[in-house]
């Protein structure tokens, strides 16, 4: 893709803007610098007046990005120096990617193709010294749940399966924690299917797993055909680099889900996703940032890239004619911080690796500054939810007495 076109936005025949790489590139290419700076202050938060700084990456990482044609961005958040604690700066990475082969290829080839595609991206993360890396939701396969065809279940693996083994080697090699969201087959419970993130430690060991808590039933997201709501609670994984958790995809629409990871002590929550333009793109810059603010932790948001075309046409209601694709997965992976700042987003169209340095001390600094947890009155909400879930719950409604005057 011509870079000048992609950055400036190309006007298509119908007058719409296409081919640009990201909202932020569109703005920075089309606004004069001082205007872009002010827009950034409002849109990106700019780390409370401190600019996000570019991270200088080793040439080897940049070479991999050029050779394998993936977007590579690296910016760092800052935090205050403390007297009683040393900074706890960790380097965190997010990978977004399209599938490697058509969905008509043999399944094992499709899977191997994705492994081969990801290898140089993970190598780049390793070369860049990334400490914690998260891949996208169901990264080993096309996001075939739109079809409702059960044959795609063949892509499911046990937690210690092929993809985990592939990543364990790399985790060990690069001393890197890797979060690997896969379609899981639970061999110990009747071979049922889950949407699961496997947490691989920096020594190549499996630390644990988390299963997607909230399952969508909207548009072509026919995931409830394949797996049920997770049974693993809201675990926080204590790694050598910090406390992390995983809010898988649709769980980002649930503030309670974000909250629960926060109450359990998460400092970074990953949100590996697969979501398409028309349905969710305006929500994408809002929900993760809100979660980072409200819960005083960092969020890493990942969305896959590209349009995946399936052999058999399908429908999901919504008045759309039968179709063979899920729409455009718009990428745009990015990080949010507890101080309301965020990074620019990766490309809407290309594979990409987003890297950020973050001092985890910022989490507690913002807990202390804003005091959200201290002022949260959790006991009020524990009571309310306890009442709400009862079948005879009555909402607290105060009616205007004038309303029912005519009927009395």
């Amino acid at each position: 893709m011509d870079k000048s076109i992609s950055e400036n936005g190309e006007t298509a025949a119908d007058g719409s803007i296409r081919g640009y790489d990201s909202l932020h590139q569109l703005l920075s290419a089309n606004l004069k610098p001082e205007l872009y700076q002010e827009v950034s202050r409002l849109l990106l938060g700019s780390n409370c007046g401190r600019s996000l700084e570019q991270i200088v990456l080793p040439d080897s990482a940049k070479a991999l990005s050029s050779k394998h044609d993936f977007d590579l961005q690296a910016v760092s958040f800052s935090a205050d120096k403390e007297q009683m604690r040393k900074p706890r700066v960790v380097r965190v990475g997010l990978i977004q990617n399209s599938i490697a082969l058509p969905t008509t290829a043999p399944f094992s080839d499709q899977k191997r193709g994705i492994f081969e595609k990801l290898k140089p991206m993970i190598d780049a993360a390793g070369a860049a010294g990334v400490n914690i890396l998260c891949l996208q939701e169901a990264w080993t396969m096309p996001f075939a749940f739109c079809t409702r065809e059960k044959k795609w279940c063949e892509f499911a693996e046990p937690v210690n399966g092929e993809s985990t083994k592939f990543l364990q080697e790399l985790a060990k090699k690069y001393n890197m924690v890797i979060v690997s969201p896969i379609l899981e087959r639970d061999m110990d419970h009747g071979e049922v299917i889950w949407n699961t993130a496997v947490i691989i430690g920096n020594n190549g060991n499996i630390i644990g797993k988390h299963r997607k808590n909230h399952i969508p039933r909207v548009g072509d997201f026919n995931e409830s055909t394949y797996y049920m709501e997770g049974d693993t609670g809201h675990p926080v994984f204590e790694t050598v680099f910090g406390k992390i958790a995983v809010n898988i995809c649709y769980g980002r629409h649930h503030p309670l889900n974000w909250l629960a990871f926060g109450l359990n002590g998460a400092e970074i929550v990953f949100n590996p996703s697969a979501t398409v333009g028309e349905l969710s793109e305006p929500m994408w810059p809002v929900e993760a940032r809100n979660a980072a603010i409200a819960n005083s932790y960092f969020v890493g948001s990942i969305n896959r890239v590209g349009t995946e075309v399936f052999p058999n046409a399908f429908t999901s209601g919504d008045g759309k004619p039968q179709h063979n694709d899920f729409g455009h997965f718009y990428g745009s992976s990015y990080f949010s911080a507890p101080d309301a700042s965020c990074t620019p987003s990766l490309s809407r169209c290309r594979d990409g690796l987003m890297i950020s340095d973050m001092d985890l001390n910022l989490c507690r600094q913002y807990k202390d500054k804003w005091g959200f947890r201290m002022t949260a009155r959790y006991e009020v909400y524990a009571d309310l939810l306890g009442e709400y879930i009862k079948p005879d719950f009555k909402p607290q409604v105060v009616s205007d007495p004038m309303l029912h005057k005519n009927s009395s």
Copy 2:
């Protein structure tokens, strides 16, 4: 203010951009139309592909806006037609304003000055046929809580006090529900002080009140010196125009607070606020929109305007030298909708009236579409919060066993 400067953004001596009216004006004045349209799609959500439409207002409303120099904007959200329900379109207004007189003027003059300033703005809302109108937090007074001086408590009024009587007349005249956030003095409970919204019905009757649930302790927000956390729960007020609730100011940082109004059935939640640039401006476009999305209701966000200077200097920590003002209240009032769209914002500097038409049917349409309430698993969170509030709560943490190997 020169309009061309305010819309295009003026470069100040220090290179920063000043004097512009709002983010959206800055963008629309500096991007070519098709680029602005795409940026709007991403930033404003554009009502799921449907453009927000300008509302044609009567000349009398426009004349009041010119004569009294306040920003006046009016756009409408759209919703699908249903077969079993008629549209329930209501016209809703938000008023933001600066104070009228210096804070050194006699208190009664200050208060009367604000009444006189608001009168033509409420008249404009009336002329425009607004059904429900919300004023800003503690609208009868300067936001003096930064000072910690108790003399400002003189501005407190009982729920049926002077400001309520003033608005009751107007509510009746214009057949308008008015939400009036004031500093309340509770005459029946030892004359204590609350931060309270009074709900005045369209017949001029008092429907009820709600007291601010969450009180900030951050920066110059020394409100905890003046009043305590509210004791009115999360009431939803059933008016002839729809079910409304009020999340006062700092409560917008608490997703549980937004949730509770939703569980009680709110269709519009107002967030009357007083907040300043440096501290919260990057959060402002995020939190209300997230609440509208997550809870499938409309949100009306209001922030006061201008810089208020107090006679005695004060400090609030944060390393700032003693100062006489709270910083710049940046206005920017706007509406958010359950479909992730939002209106542009009112001015960052001028008084303003924002009007929107909204079909309240959109709330249930989005409940049905996305199913957030149905997939929310409230019982899981009722349990978690019930545990969390116990002193011996232990977070759900899975530690990497390799972590503690050296110490064992």
